[in-house]
Point group: C2
Chain length 180, copies 2
Amino acid sequence: MKQSEVKAYRQVASAYLDRVGIVLRSEEKAGLEVTDFGLGEFETTGLVLHTYVNTERVCAKELVLLPHQTCPQHLHPPAGGEAGKEETFRCRWGAVYLYVEGESTSSPQAQPPTHRRETYTVHHEIVLRPGEQYTLLPDTWHWFQSGDEGAVVSEFSTRSRDEADVFTDMGVRRLPDVEA
Amino acid sequence: MKQSEVKAYRQVASAYLDRVGIVLRSEEKAGLEVTDFGLGEFETTGLVLHTYVNTERVCAKELVLLPHQTCPQHLHPPAGGEAGKEETFRCRWGAVYLYVEGESTSSPQAQPPTHRRETYTVHHEIVLRPGEQYTLLPDTWHWFQSGDEGAVVSEFSTRSRDEADVFTDMGVRRLPDVEA
């Protein structure tokens, strides 16, 4: 992504967080992580993240999604000699449609991005509205998409090791790749 | 504490959380944990807690403190075959004065409850206002008190094992003791 785009999306995400009442310091807002997962279509597949803490044992983040924005299918394998990342998503604002392993939901609320549909293989739907949450087991496939208004989601987890994450879509690169 | 008091303080704490924009479901509000640490003076020494998740690996909570309410000095020792609880406090609203091991602060913002002062032995002050946070190492003494308006604090940590916590004040009983 271009640095100008990253800055613009940081401002958009900051406005979401302000609206929800989540206070970030100015340097935290300026450091928000904006990722398009290397796919070059941020508003379709992307995420803005603030990481409160990520120690050897504990991680906590806020995730901001634009309307109908998708975090692509991935899992957190065992890494660093321990089980994979365990994460709990808690919806703070908007709606999140989370898809996990299990029986496919017959009329899901969200659809994968059409041109990448073949990289989405799990279709058991969990709907999260404000005040609702779901805990994902490590090493299990999942993806999620926000609803009409976008979403703010808190994530409580073990250590994040982005470099270890496995994505179904071979085009995904999770680590930052910001152009000047 | 009497059940009627527990209910009343749950309502007070719910109002704090509503004001900050933290959405709890009605059954979560009804289940808020109200503790006076067994000392029988809740508004001096006490805490209201909501636990989002507490698995073998991860815990996340919201803490609500009335004005000048104190969480008494304690530490989290090694337990269950692993290092003690590691916790990060993030102030969401109000102010929190956190006291940890280290050089005593000469003019601290808060004072321990006078009649229990001898059970407070660490006096290095960390001031947390909204958007500020601090990560405590396991197995280290700490206590905290809110400011004039009370406080709402998020806690991100490894598993909570309240039964393992060690308090300086021998009168403290952390586990619930609710009377009819």
